[in-house]
Amino acid sequence: MIDAPLTGTRPAVVQERRPGRLAGLFHRSESLRGYTMLSPTMLVMAVGILAPFIILLAMSFWTRQGFEFDTTPTFANYARAMSEPIFGAFLARSFWVSGIATVATVLLCYPMAYYVAFHVHRNKMLWIVLMTLPFWTSYLLRVFAWKVILGYEGVINSALLSMGLIDAPLEFLLYSQTAVIITLAHAWAAFAILPLYVSLEKIDRSLLEAATDLGDGPAWRFLRVTLPLSMPGVIAAVFLIFIPTTGDFITPALLGGPDGAMIGNLIQLQFGAVNNWPMGAALSIVLMLWIATVALVFLLVTRKAQERLA
């Protein structure tokens, strides 16, 4: 937009409350006002995101030296992250575990979101609240509760034992990747249900009727209309679950057992017991880059799949 230059030759305004020159400029320049309004948020984000990341990036090129850091830049940490198999293995395990958990969560929540969007007519809000209320309890306690359920004398084992289906408690339930996956899927369900519900609810019902009218049965209608139109929700849900769970370290720490530890635990160790902050920083950067890559690939694949379907 082109604004008139503020020339000094304008006739004086005889208005009672005459705003100043600056206020005038402010009143006229839309984008200036916009940026001013956005600036506090941006400032917080800059302090909270940009600054820490710059320092994290810098630190990842340092090396530990006793209590201090050697700030000579070096790729040693990244070289280690590449060469030592433990890091790659943990990264792969993290992606595997949270990938499975994500797929399971989205698959299990989709019918539920679908049900509420299409088959609940009264009190939809009540259903939404019912589905999100469990997430108002502490995450730690929910994880802990799963420990009770999956445990040696836990609910599942007791039930199976009393039904005579097993002779001894199943030990693989707890302290395993299975336990981590089950717990993550439960704990993050709300993050799948809400975006799925929103995207399904948005679908114009007349589109479904049109599909039926044009000869699609329920299955085809779902595949050719409902599913593609709800893809934004599916993608949002996948990102909202996959990314945070990849870096999770509490759930594996509490339920994972020796074989369930994930990259988050390794990073946390670098800042804790192992006390190698530069290595931890490097691992964080590596994790972030990998997540970005995986996310990108996922986006491309879904786009391709959508094109194929359409």
Binding site: P258, A261, G272
Partner: protein, 374 residues
């Protein structure tokens, strides 16, 4: 409750939605404007000292004399392991008193974050068992100790007497017993497990820094890993697993066995023939302690007889005050793996030797790799 009243008012139409939003906002701003640190609110009672310690030591029973003197309990900050604590303090976290153990003593002192303790300011100092205070590296150049011994105990094996079939004497072999593969537990911190591995591997604590020792211990730890159900820093997990029978034996401290016995679980705190791992912990004062007088009050309170009796009775840990043991008979103490003469225990077991930061880092890295399966 305020919010409920407000909601009711909205419902009955007494309050317009605008007024409601405004009051909600006002409440939010009010609360937001409240200082985030509650200590400022307590300032009227005088600033209290901060004790940086393990969970479980933040109980009023240990601070009777402090409370009597200052009218309230000190502030607590809780850590999960002493490494984590040191890392945090090196990151600039200032407290008055922190609570490390003898294994970390050298590194804590080397960090330059602490000041020697003036024992003349501690009324209970004369009753402290001198051998505990005389641990290696504890004397500063000025002749004052860096760390005042407070609690001491053992890392050993707690096992279910009804499940674990003992073959011969109690021994560290119990935690390497393949009959109980998947039913053994271990503490996750290298500060316990690695040292126990050294005992099992027959490495003397004085040789623990050698490469050879590293390899031997690592081999032992690797052999143990497939047998372990879970490594955890969380003693509750081990206790629960023991009490449910999920585990037959686990590496624990004294307190786990005491707690399980009080719940009538048939367990024993083993006295392995190779000797248990022995340690002593105690408070250190931060060099920039903002409340130095309170810091001494905290330490003196920890050293009191009352605190000692609570530690022995409720937690099963040893205490540094000789007089605290007077209330207990020898049998009780023996059952806890304690003795009125701690020198007996210290001699019978393996007393942790403080190590350098480099060693700690190498050990932790190696042990974490082993735990992760590499």
């Amino acid at each position: 409750m305020d919010v409920v009243d407000q909601l009711n008012a909205v419902r009955s139409g007494k309050l317009s939605r605008r007024a409601f939003s405004r009051s909600l906002l006002a409440a939010g701003v009010g609360l937001a404007a409240m200082p985030l640190a509650p200590r400022r609110v307590l300032a009227a009672e005088g600033e209290q000292g901060t004790f940086f310690t393990w969970g479980g030591f933040d109980v009023p029973e240990l601070f009777g004399s402090y409370e009597a003197k200052n009218g309230t309990l000190p502030n607590f900050s809780i850590f999960g392991g002493s490494e984590e604590a040191l890392t945090k303090m090196r990151g600039g976290f200032v407290v008055d008193v922190a609570h490390p153990c003898n294994a970390g003593l050298n590194r804590w002192v080397a960090s330059g974050l602490f000041q020697p303790i003036d024992t003349s300011r501690l009324s209970n100092w004369p009753d402290v068992i001198p051998e505990l205070a005389a641990i290696e590296g504890n004397m500063s150049a000025s002749g004052k100790p860096w760390l005042v011994p407070f609690d001491w105990g053992q890392t050993s094996i707690t096992y279910r007497t009804d499940i674990f079939e003992l073959e011969g004497e109690e021994s560290w072999d119990m935690l390497w017993d393949e009959r109980y593969a998947g039913r053994l537990g271990s503490l996750a911190s290298g500060g316990d497990a690695w040292w126990c591995g050294a005992i099992k591997a027959g490495v003397g604590f004085d040789d623990i820094t050698t490469d050879e020792a590293f390899e031997k211990i690592a081999a032992v730890m690797r052999a143990q890993r497939p047998l372990i159900r879970v490594y955890t820093d969380d003693t509750t997990t081990l206790e629960q697993a023991l009490s449910s029978g999920e585990m037959a034996a686990a590496m624990t401290w004294n307190s786990s066995a005491v707690l399980l016995k009080s719940e009538d679980v048939p367990v024993r705190f083993a006295q392995p023939k190779e000797g248990a791992l022995t340690w002593v912990c105690g408070p250190m004062i931060h060099k920039d302690a903002p409340h130095l007088d309170r810091a001494y009050d905290i330490i003196d309170s920890l050293l009191s007889v009352e605190a000692g009796q609570f530690m022995i009775n409720d937690y099963g840990y040893g205490h540094s005050n000789q007089k605290a043991f007077d209330a207990f008979d020898d049998e009780t103490l023996a059952g806890l793996g304690l003795s009125k003469n701690p020198v007996d225990i210290l001699n019978a077991g393996h007393f942790m030797v403080p190590q350098s930061q480099e060693w700690e880092t190498r050990m932790n890295e190696t042990f974490e790799m082993i735990k992760a399966g590499f």
